[in-house]
Each structure stands twice: as C-alpha cells, then as structure tokens.
C-alpha cells in the first residue's frame, strides 16, 4: 500500500484527496444534521453550496483548464434551472417519487444547458481573450432576457410555450385548461415549485462533477485542452483540432452548470431569471480565481468559504460587506505573493528533510 502511494503521481494523490475531502465533509455534515447540531440557517445553505461548488468546478474547466475567460456561466445555470423546474412540474403527477423526479430534472437541465453551450460555443470560441469574455457576457444577458419573456404552462394536452416579446401576452394567453399548471410566468419567473432538492442529491452531483472534470482533465482530451491553453500554435502543429477540443471543454462546462442550475431551481419555491445575472457569473468567477485557476480542490474550498463568509459575518451587520471585501483582497494578495510562496516552499522542504532524517 505504502509503495503504491509512493509510486502514484502527485496529481493522482491530489485527486484522491479531493474526493476524500468532499466525502468526509458530507459525512460530517450529515451526522451533525442528524444530531440536530445545525441551525436552520446552515441547513438552508447546504444545497446552494453544492450548486455553487459545481458551478465553480465547471467554470474552472473553461477558465482554468481551457484558459478562456467566460463571463456568461450563470446563463447556462439559468437554462438548467428553468428546464429542470419545468421537467419537475410536468412530471409531478405522473412520477410521485421525488428522487426520480430530481434525477430526471437534473438530466434534462444538463441536456438543455449542453445544447445552449453548443449554440453559444460555436460562434464564441472563434474569438480569443477579452473579445471572448465580452461575447460570453452578452450571451449570458441574452439568455436571461429570453427567459424573462418566456411563458410556459402544462396541462393534460401537453406543454404550452409562448414568447412574450412585445409584452402584450401574459400567462392566460397560453390557453391552459382548468387543471393546468402555470410554470414560468415571464419576468416573475417560476413560483410555487416543489422543493425537492436534497443535500444528498447535491453531494452526489458534486461527486459526479468531480469525476467528470478530473477524469476528463487527466485523459487524452484534457491534455489536448491544456495544450491549447499553453500554446495554441504548437497544439495545432502536433495535430490537435483546436475548435473541437475548445468546444468539448466549453460544452462540458455548460452542461455541468445546467445540472447545478436544475438543482438550484428545485431548492427554492420560486426562481426568476434575474437571479442568474451578470453578478452571479462574476461571483462564480471570483470563487474560481480565488481558488486558483486550474485548481479543482481550490475552487471547492474557495466556494464554501466565500459563500459562508457573508453569513458568518452577519453579526457585524454594518461592516459585513466591508469585511468581506477586505478578506477577498487579502486572500488575493497573499496567494499571489512570491515571498509567501517561497516561505511555504522552505517550510515544506524543512519538513521533508526532517522526515527523511527520521527514516534513516
């Protein structure tokens, strides 16, 4: 066992530690929950944390691994959220089992977000750098605006969909029958949803995301994606199809964001498109940058800490956002400081030498 550990690549060790850490966190939280140690406030944060962890890890695939700045990640979350909610509401009578419904909603959310990812990705990935960032930002806003004028209802005749572009339609123009359910009501969003998302589903989703992202990165596909990030011209010269691998990374990232969105939508009684605006995209980007570009476990830790931070600072009401901002700045300065990195490297080396001395 020990020799096996020694022979393992350091990246493999880090991956295993990431999986173990997430499982451990889940077990501890579940035990605490069962012993009633957690306040209502904390319990309410569990599912959103899972959603944002998935968002951050998936955005890291685009920003950290592919190396392209995407500012429209919340758009895919939004697509996932609304398609997930619609699925869950439509199936509420035919499939009473909540777990099956959540899973189906997540799958539908993933598929719709992936399709949106392809539609957005094909034109956008022709661009590079700042231009790509700005166009993804625009697409994120377009998705929000489209959902803002979307009317969706469900009755025994099936799904009714209308686009309220000129603002003259409302939910009644769908012509639903008496037993019909109004699902998405334009700018009001979807309300009266079943809250069927659970922390366990969130945990499973986080694990699936980790498996998909980490395995993808450590495979032939991920290598090609990172090669494009490191040197596009060289990647082309060794026969790597740039467009294909950029699209694979971008669509995978969008699909996972869709799953996160579906879970998010199923956790609240009402969601509206304005919840998934530019600010949400930036917030997720902050998680990714703070956790370290390309560093998956970093994204997880950063998400949990930064998501919890404003809540933890609640007792300093007035100073809350100020403290939050200061902590962000300090973390950025510290993690980018070469002196501090060298200090940690020295400590690491000393520890290793001491360990080596003991063995001899």
């Amino acid at each position: 066992m020990k020799s096996y550990l020694k022979n393992m690549k350091s990246v493999t060790k880090v991956d295993f530690a990431t999986y173990l850490g997430v499982i451990l966190a889940f077990v501890i939280v579940t035990v605490c929950q069962n012993m009633d140690l957690l306040s209502r406030q904390v319990t309410g944060m569990l599912v959103p944390i899972c959603c944002y962890v998935v968002m951050a890890v998936s955005l890291n695939l685009t920003v950290g691994i592919l190396g392209e700045l995407s500012l429209g990640h919340a758009g895919f979350m939004s697509v996932g959220a609304f398609s997930g909610v619609v699925t869950s509401m439509c199936l509420s009578e035919s499939i009473p089992n909540e777990l099956v419904r959540v899973v189906l909603a997540l799958v539908v959310g993933t598929i719709f977000a992936a399709i949106t990812g392809v539609i957005v990705g094909v034109p956008v990935l022709r661009l590079r750098g700042d231009y790509l960032a700005i166009v993804t930002l625009a697409f994120g806003e377009i998705i929000r605006d489209i959902i803002n004028c979307l009317l969706v209802g469900w009755d025994e005749n099936g799904l009714h969909i209308a686009l309220n572009i000129d603002g003259t339609k409302n939910i009644d123009s769908l012509g639903l029958s008496e037993n019909g359910i109004e699902i998405i009501k334009g700018a009001q969003g979807a309300s009266g949803n079943d809250r069927i998302a659970t922390f366990t589903v969130g945990f499973v989703l986080v694990m699936i995301t980790l498996v998909v992202v980490l395995n993808l990165v450590r495979s032939r596909t991920g290598r090609a994606v990172m090669a494009i990030r490191d040197n596009r011209i060289a990647a082309e010269s060794v026969g790597i199809n740039i467009t294909k691998y950029k699209l694979i990374a971008f669509v995978t990232s969008a699909a996972l964001a869709g799953a996160a969105g579906a879970l998010f939508g199923l956790n609240y009684a009402s969601v509206s498109a304005d919840q998934f605006d530019f600010n949400t995209s930036i917030m997720v980007l902050v998680y990714v940058v703070l956790g370290g570009l390309g560093n998956i476990w970093g994204s997880i830790v950063a998400t949990v800490v930064i998501y919890v931070l404003p809540e933890a600072l609640r007792e300093y009401a007035d100073l809350r956002m100020l403290l939050y901002a200061i902590i962000l700045i300090v973390v950025m300065l510290v993690t980018n400081n070469p002196t501090i990195w060298n200090f940690f490297a020295r400590v690491h080396q000393q520890l290793r030498e001491r360990k080596g001395g003991q063995v001899e």
Binding site: R223, D230, S237
Partner: protein
C-alpha cells in the same frame, strides 16, 4: 518503435535534381517536393518561385541571411500560411487543401524558432500530446475510465518513455516542461515533433542559443534521429558548423528566392552565396 515509421509512397514522382539528393535516396521518390512555391503578403512577395526536393532519408539545410524568408517557407509547408502560388507534394500527395492539423497527420512535424512547449504540463504529457492522434480512445472512455483508456494510456506511457530514453530524457519525465533548462527544452520540442510520427521533420534554428558542446550533441542527435527513424529532416540554421557538418543538401535563400543549391562544399565556394552573406567586394 520499429513500426514507428513506414510509409509507402502513394505515387512515384520523378526526382527532379538527382545530384542534389544523397545517393541512397536516388531511386526513390522524394518525400517533399515544392514546385514554384510562392506567397505574397499584400504587395510584398515574401517567397518567390521556391523549388526544392528532399530525399526520403536526407538531412537538408535551408540557410540565408536574416529576413530571407526561411521561416516563411516552413510556415508554408505546415500551412500556417496558404501559398499564393505553386504546389507542395508530400510523398507525392498535393497538400493544397490541407490545414495545419491535416498536414501534420500526413507526415510533417516541426519545431519552432522560439520554443513553443506546453509549459505547464509535464515532459511526459508533452510527448503524449505528440501521440495525440495515435492514441485511440475518445472523450467518454476517458471520463468513465473504460478499459480502452487504461490500455491506450499504458501504451502511450511506454512509448513516451521509450522515445524519451532515446534522448536520455526519461529521468525528466515528471518535470514540468517550463522548468527544464534551455537545451532540454529544445530537445523536448524535437521529441514531441517526433512523437507525431512524421516522415519529414522541420527544425527551425535548433541550435539557436546553444554553446558549442550543446551544438555538437544536437548534431549527433539529428543524425541519430535520421538513422533511427529513417526520416527526412529539413533544418533552418545560422550555425554554419552544424549546417556544413551534417547537411547533405543545402539551399540558400535570399530575398525569398533560392540563389544556390548544392552540397556543403559547393555552397561554401559559391560566389553568389558569399556575396549574399558578406556583400560585394568594392571595385578598385
């Protein structure tokens, strides 16, 4: 590695200039043939009427003063630029409609004048990326770690280590490419290009920035590559000791045009070449 390289010629092309191709390649079709190749950038003609044939196992050199258009020729061959005029026949096949990726699959690999490695990846991964099109598993096998993944990755690992060990770099396999010393980075770029299984290897100033002992090692390595893999090598170089030492045929480029072709001895004594490099002796 034995099956590493063996491409049968798809069409026999007559060798246009036999005395410029080494003897052992004389009865075989050339691996690369450029006919009247040219490119204009707006009103500027960067390369004009470039004709060249390279034998299957030849080490050929392309030299010329700065700005002569040598790297542009490489960029034409690898389709970074599409030629304005002329044809490139790789192993008798016209590469006219190919892009960079397809040309690489067809058998041209290159290195760059300014090193272009995947700096954040390990040395082994850099070589594996050269194998990219020879590893046969898709995205889903990778995500779900199907048997195909383990099998292909094992083969890729073994081949990468084998290739690295030929150049005594196997102990560096887990280092990050960007952290290697300069000479090793240059070597790794060549190894990565070789991993794509080329029939023609283009080296853009492989000895740039190297000291004499490193250059000597590089010369040995270039000859070793030709002998081990049985491929043709075309190199751009300013270091005349290297060019004259190992190239069998040399073409001299000046202002986008070939001004001389021949063996190293012919080139050394060609007055046109001397004039291009050193200028004309003033009359009187």
């Amino acid at each position: 590695m034995s099956n590493h390289l063996h491409r049968e010629p798809t069409r026999l092309v007559p060798v246009p200039n036999p005395n410029k191709i080494p003897e052992r390649d004389i009865d075989k079709a050339p691996i690369l043939e450029c006919r009247h190749l040219g490119i204009d950038f707006g009103g500027l003609t960067a390369v004009k009427d470039f004709n060249m044939a390279i034998g299957r196992t030849e080490i050929a050199g392309l030299i010329g003063p700065n700005g002569a258009g040598k790297t542009t020729v490489f960029n034409l061959l690898t389709k970074v630029y599409q030629p304005t005029r002329g044809t490139i026949l790789l192993d008798g096949v016209d590469t006219n409609n190919m892009n960079t990726v397809q040309v690489n699959k067809a058998g041209i690999a290159r290195t760059f004048q300014n090193i272009r490695l995947f700096n954040n990846l390990t040395v082994e991964d850099n070589v594996k990326l050269g194998f990219h099109n020879h590893i046969g598993y898709g995205m889903w096998s990778g995500i779900f770690r199907l048997p195909n993944y383990w099998k292909s990755e094992k083969v890729a690992h073994e081949r990468a280590m084998e290739l690295l060990s030929i150049f005594d770099m196997d102990y560096m396999a887990r280092y990050t490419a960007g952290s290697l010393p300069y000479g090793a980075q240059r070597k790794l770029e060549i190894v990565r290009a070789l991993a794509t299984n080329p029939s023609l290897l283009l080296l853009d100033e492989p000895a740039a920035g190297m000291n004499p002992s490193e250059t000597a090692e590089l010369m040995d390595n270039i000859v070793k590559i030709r002998d081990t893999f049985g491929i043709a090598i075309l190199l751009i170089e300013h270091d005349m000791s290297l060019v004259m030492g190992i190239c069998e045929g040399i073409a001299v480029l000046n202002f986008g045009q070939i001004i001389a072709k021949g063996t190293p001895d012919e080139i050394k004594n060609d007055p046109v070449v001397i004039e291009a490099y050193l200028g004309k002796r003033k009359e009187g």
